[in-house]
């Protein structure tokens, strides 16, 4: 008890001491700020670790040799690094050809997406026409309805593709577009591609935020609505265009749902071919050990995500600015 009394006295003495009051409050403030800083960095580093750790794991284990896998003393840094996983995955994925093909596919879809959805977004933002609210409600419905609700009908539409009976008139019977990339192009061209609803929404919000004076000036100078849209509004919408471009490119690149639904060839879509990679390697190269097979998949995954990561890192700055300035917030 005496000890407690003593401690209390010391505390009271220090508190009543006027001489060092200034220093003390400074010290308290510094300690407070330091604790806050520490807290923030602990959380941030922890979260970053959770996000990055599987990536680190994949990259490091894709260099493991057969002995490293079963060596208990090996963690993250391989003792006997090998590039063989990459060699074989590269070969079996047919990497460059498939990558170029799927980039071509994704980029052409991206351009269609941007042109079509921005056009629709502009139409909704700037023009008055009957049933506008109802129609915009339909855009929201498009975002909310899960695509799987309509997957079977979509499959049937493209299995017996016959718009207005034209194909039957020419060909005698409806053609099947499954197995090609046509369904995706047609859907994107008609503004119903992968998450088009979201993009329309983003563009709409952005165009609504732009000042009307720009268009009035264009009108006075004699520009028609289409010229105004292409040469003036689209140029002003660069932040949204970048946001939508990155979203579209990345999601299209990763898309498996539509690729599976429309039975798109594995040679056309690299994210689809990664799903079959371990099977292919297992069959062709007679690797039966699932653990070793897993390493080849890791190497394949690194190869597949590499282009996306490069694009993302290159455009990261514009992307963040774009998201902040474009209409996501509404």
């Amino acid at each position: 008890m005496q000890l407690v009394e003593k401690a209390k006295n010391i505390v009271i003495n220090v508190k009543q001491d006027k001489q060092f009051a200034n220093d003390r409050s400074k010290a308290f403030n510094m300690a407070k700020q330091f604790l806050l800083l520490l807290f923030r960095w602990v959380i941030i580093i922890g979260m970053c670790y959770i996000i990055l750790s599987p990536l680190i794991g994949i990259i490091s284990s894709s260099f493991f040799s057969d002995t490293d896998v079963y060596d208990k003393s090996v963690y993250i840094i391989p003792k006997d690094p090998t590039l063989d996983r990459y060699r074989l995955s590269w070969l079996r994925l047919d990497y460059l050809t498939v990558l170029l093909k799927s980039l071509w596919y994704d980029l052409s879809l991206l351009i269609l997406q941007v042109v079509i959805t921005s056009m629709v977004g502009y139409g909704f933002a700037r023009f008055q026409f009957p049933f506008k609210k109802v129609l915009f409600g339909c855009v929201v419905v498009m975002i909310v309805i899960p695509t799987h609700t309509i997957m079977v009908p979509l499959y049937m539409v493209f299995r017996n593709f016959d718009p207005l009976g034209i194909v039957t008139a020419i060909n005698g019977e409806p053609i099947s577009l499954l197995g090609s990339t046509w369904p995706m192009y047609i859907m994107t061209l008609l503004g119903c591609g992968l998450r088009s609803g979201l993009y329309i929404y983003i563009f709409n919000q952005f165009f609504r935020g732009l000042p009307k004076e720009i268009e009035e000036a264009a009108l006075v100078d004699g520009a028609g609505p289409w010229f105004t849209y292409f040469r003036i509004m689209l140029v002003n919408a660069i932040p949204s265009v970048i946001t939508v471009s990155i979203f579209s490119l990345v999601w299209q690149y990763n898309d498996l749902f539509f690729a599976n639904l429309f039975v798109i060839n594995t040679k056309e879509s690299i994210s689809k071919s990664i799903t079959t990679l371990s099977g292919t390697i297992g069959n062709l190269d007679r690797i039966v050990d699932p653990t070793i097979l897993q390493l080849y998949t890791y190497a394949g995954v690194v190869l597949v995500i590499l282009p996306v990561i490069i694009i993302y890192v290159a455009l990261q700055k514009y992307f963040m600015e774009g998201v902040e300035r474009s209409g996501i917030v509404g």
């Binding site: 923030r40 941030i44 970053c48 959770i50 996000i51 990055l52 794991g57 994949i58 284990s61 490293d68 896998v69 079963y70 963690y75 079509i116 959805t117 056009m119 629709v120 909704f124 023009f127 008055q128 009957p130 339909c138 419905v141 975002i143 909310v144 309805i145 899960p146 695509t147 799987h148 609700t149 309509i150 997957m151 079977v152 009908p153 979509l154 539409v157 061209l189 008609l190 503004g191 119903c192 088009s196 609505p225 990345v250 990763n254 749902f257 689809k272 990664i274 799903t275 653990t291 897993q294 890791y298 995954v301 996306v308 993302y312 990261q316 700055k317 998201v323 902040e324 996501i328 509404g330």
Partner: protein
Amino acid sequence: MTKKYKLTLLQKRAVVGLLFISPWLLGFLTFYVKSIFMAVKWSFNSIELLDTGGVKFTYVGLDNYIYMLTEHGSFTQTLVNSVFDIGIDIPLIIFFSLLMAILLNQKFKGRTLVRAIFFIPVILNADAIMETINTARQLMVDGVSTVAVDTASSAVNINVDYYFAMFENIGMPPSILDYVVSAVGRINDIITRSGVQIVVFIAALQAVPASMYEVSKIEGATAYETFWKVTFPMVTPLIITNIVYTVVDSFINSDVVNAAYEMAFTNQKWGYSSAMSLISSVIVCAILVIVCGLISRKTFYYN
């Protein structure tokens, strides 16, 4: 001589506007409206694929739905699980992404890098890659060799039950305990799925006018009060946006969708598959309406 119709300027603008949205309108009618009608029609039919490539419809009424809800082995279970998962995830994801957005909105060194890292899961959300990443995550916890040689014997054995008993003895209700435990177990999931939400919240935070903070500072509000009286009300409209995104996103990746997909393309039972899709979609919409209805009452709109 044909009579020439003259449109007023407003009518002209309306026509141009309709032209602007016409591609989407056409697509919406052919793909969405028609498909939804087809799905509804099919869900009332039993569908047989003929060898000639055609299909044969037999009207069966509500049989598909009754079968799915009462007889099918796993559908109701999967559905209930998915709905529960979403119910648990919504508050966690919203809370977590708001917290992270507030942290990342402050100025500090390396902010761009951290933001870039937080968005990586959105970039890598492909199914195939996700699966690989999940196995890899296990591998980072235990080390490659442990996973390879023996997954069962982990090096450190923490007796979780002991802690459970301890907390229950303190008097914590088991339901809260379960929620916390499942939340901790889902932390990976939560973090990887809140990328877009974090970005949306960051954008919202930046839209809060600086003058408001200035005023609250002059009036002598503490940081805590400022958060609840200024920051939070200003972000609430975005909470609904984020909830919609979260629900739709988690349903697309849920087991129900996979089950419907398998039913359609592996078993060729399109009637059942349509019924499954419709039931789950109706439930998603119901969840959205209920949650948004509840929240929009409390939402503060600045304008």
